[in-house]
């Protein structure tokens, strides 16, 4: 089979480095790591904030994807291009940009501070925002692709039955593109979970509050390569287990 060879090669390319990590990991230290409260706190924070960031991305990104896929408006090309900005921006610069806007001295941040007394940076909210900023394009582009691939005639049929745009969207379009949305959400969640540069810049590195696993890995790298590998493998295992259980349910559902 002409398709199996490249597929196998691709899989090998993705899996071999993991094998390398597994071979190098100091397994004896694993139990001790797993009981360290700081590691557990970082793990919990990572999963929680990645999930919240995904929810935020779904709430804002799916409508934006719909706008790009279904509504003709002037400047659509520009908007579509702007959506890809956080993809290309080095995450650390993304973090700086977020500071420039939402920081205490920032465009929006100073107003938030003066009006509501809210400061975002260095809070768990900041972690969620940083992750959402970096991960949202993945969701938008995946969902837009799915929307373009979907047959718009079902939406016409819904309109003839009296469904407005909103109902058509929630009752017909979304269920039809559910696999695409699920794929986008997976990408988004995984990207948020692995996010490091923007998070440490915008939210800082406070254990229990803003120290996610990737940030902990970064710090561990400063002192101990093996420790960093073990932490990465813990993060990896957790995410793979969550994704494997979720995705198969979503896809078959």
């Amino acid at each position: 089979m002409a398709l199996l060879l490249p597929a196998g090669l691709g899989l090998l390319f993705l899996v071999l480095p993991l094998v390398g990590l597994l071979a190098r990991a100091p397994w004896s230290t694993l139990p001790q790591r797993l009981t360290e409260p700081a590691v557990l706190a970082a793990l919990r924070l990572s999963v929680q904030s990645a999930t919240l960031a995904t929810v935020l991305c779904l709430a804002l990104g799916v409508p934006l994807a719909w706008l790009l896929a279904r509504v003709q408006f002037p400047g659509r090309r520009l908007v579509r291009a702007l959506v890809t900005v956080p993809l290309v921006l080095p995450p650390v610069v993304g973090g700086v940009a977020l500071l420039l806007v939402f920081g205490r001295r920032g465009l929006v941040g100073s107003w938030l501070d003066a009006t509501f007394g809210i400061t975002l940076p260095f809070t768990t909210t900041a972690v969620v925002l940083a992750e959402a900023f970096v991960a949202m394009p993945f969701l938008i582009i995946a969902v837009e692709g799915a929307l373009r691939g979907a047959d718009t005639r079902y939406e016409e049929a819904a309109a003839t039955l009296g469904a407005g745009r909103w109902t058509t969207f929630t009752h017909v379009t979304l269920p039809l593109v559910a696999p695409g949305v699920a794929a986008g959400a997976v990408l988004c969640w995984a990207r948020a979970l692995g996010e490091f540069g923007a998070t440490i810049t915008f939210a800082g590195n406070y254990p229990g509050r803003t120290q996610t696993m990737p940030v902990a890995v970064y710090l561990a790298l400063e002192t101990d390569l093996e420790a960093a590998i073990v932490l990465s493998l813990i993060l990896l295992t957790v995410s793979v287990v969550i994704l494997a259980s979720l995705r198969d349910r979503w896809i078959s559902g």
């Binding site: 016409e156 049929a157 003839t160 469904a163």
Partner: protein, 358 residues
């Protein structure tokens, strides 16, 4: 056509341009009336239906239902599809693949303000009426083609639309189900106080279900009227084939109609000027030699093709005019009717009908 304007429920002049194709169709439908839109493939039937549904905007003209303007490009009036009280059965059903048959039918009533339970109840009633109660929980992919089409029909009817648009609603049904569904549809349409437009290829559907036929070719109306008129007096080849007649155009002088420079027919009616002449294939008799005797139209012809047609055989003939003739298998065997064979065709003047053209 001759009703007072006030009786019209639908009053439209649909002009739509789609690439090279241009639809230009004046259309009125009275309350309770069922109009069948017939035409060859690509004539613009689906285009007209989409314009009525608001899925295609008009390029010009207007569209008014019950005095309310739905689409009028000159006045920039436009009511979107979801605010038009319509029901549509699409040519390829378009059942929502993620919903069960029941939820497909309940979708419209829900959107029209019914509660979930009421909507499902109404949907269940409709499915039962369509003989599909047992399939209510199936997804569209698990339905056969004909089952899917009946669900689509139920879905469109369940919103009790003021304008019902049917794009070949019976095409995928088997003969038995078709009869039942046609009867049900007929019953429903008879009770329906709204307007109905039925797009179909099947002349029987049109004759049974419709009060009036509008026939279009290449985007334009070629004939319009009740079934009896159209059946008796087709005006284009398409309509003639639809109703199963041979049709010719010629110049009449009394009973004699000249069809070409060197061929003419004697007809039962007297006219002067441009006329159509029509007669059924069964009126054509075939003879091995030139028949003599009573005054009739006779001409030599060559057999171009033979098909079974019901219990009879339908013979396509070339010659001064192209004509179809129906003969019994016994007669065919006796005449050795094979393609290429030369025969004489004969039609009694009394069996032909002539009527003014233009």
């Amino acid at each position: 056509m001759s009703e007072p304007a006030g009786a019209r429920l639908l009053d439209a002049h649909l002009v739509v341009e789609r690439g090279d194709f241009r639809l230009d169709l004046p259309l009125t439908i009275n309350p309770g009336e069922v109009v069948a839109l017939l035409g060859p493939n690509g004539a613009g039937k689906t285009t007209a239906l989409r314009a009525l549904a608001g899925l295609l905007p008009l390029s010009a003209g207007h569209l008014t239902l019950a005095g309310r303007e739905w689409d009028h490009p000159d006045r920039r009036v436009w009511i979107p599809t979801e605010r038009r009280p319509i029901g549509v059965v699409f040519q390829d059903y378009l059942l929502f693949p993620h919903l069960t048959a029941l939820d497909n039918v309940a979708f419209g009533p829900r959107r029209h303000g019914l509660g979930r339970q009421q909507a499902r109840q109404r949907a269940a009633d409709w499915l039962t009426r369509m003989g599909l109660a047992a399939h209510a929980r199936r997804k569209p992919r698990q339905l056969s083609g004909g089952q899917a089409q009946r669900v689509a029909l139920a879905r469109a009817l369940a919103v009790e639309p003021a304008l019902l648009l049917l794009d070949e609603p019976l095409a995928a049904l088997d003969a038995g189900t078709r009869l039942d569904t046609r009867a049900q549809l007929h019953r429903h349409l008879a009770a329906h106080t709204g307007a109905t437009l039925l797009v179909t290829h099947d002349p029987l559907d049109a004759l049974v279900l419709a009060d009036r036929l509008v026939i279009i070719e290449d985007g334009h109306v070629v004939q319009e009227g009740d079934a009896a008129t159209i059946t008796a007096r087709p005006r284009t080849d398409y309509v003639a084939r639809l109703v199963g007649l041979n049709l010719y155009r010629g110049r009449a002088a009394g009973q004699r109609v000249r069809l070409s420079a060197d061929f003419g027919l004697t007809t039962g009616d007297r006219h002067d000027g441009e006329v159509f002449v029509a007669f059924p294939p069964s009126a054509v008799a075939l003879h091995p030699r030139q028949p003599d005797g009573s005054p009739r139209n006779t001409w030599p012809a060559t057999i171009a093709g033979v098909q079974r047609h019901g219990d009879n055989l339908r013979i396509q003939l070339n010659g001064p005019i192209e004509v179809a003739a129906d003969v019994t298998p016994a007669a065919a065997a006796q005449l050795r009717l094979v393609p290429g064979q030369r025969v004489w065709a004969a039609v009694k003047a009394a069996e032909t009908r002539a009527y003014p053209a233009g």
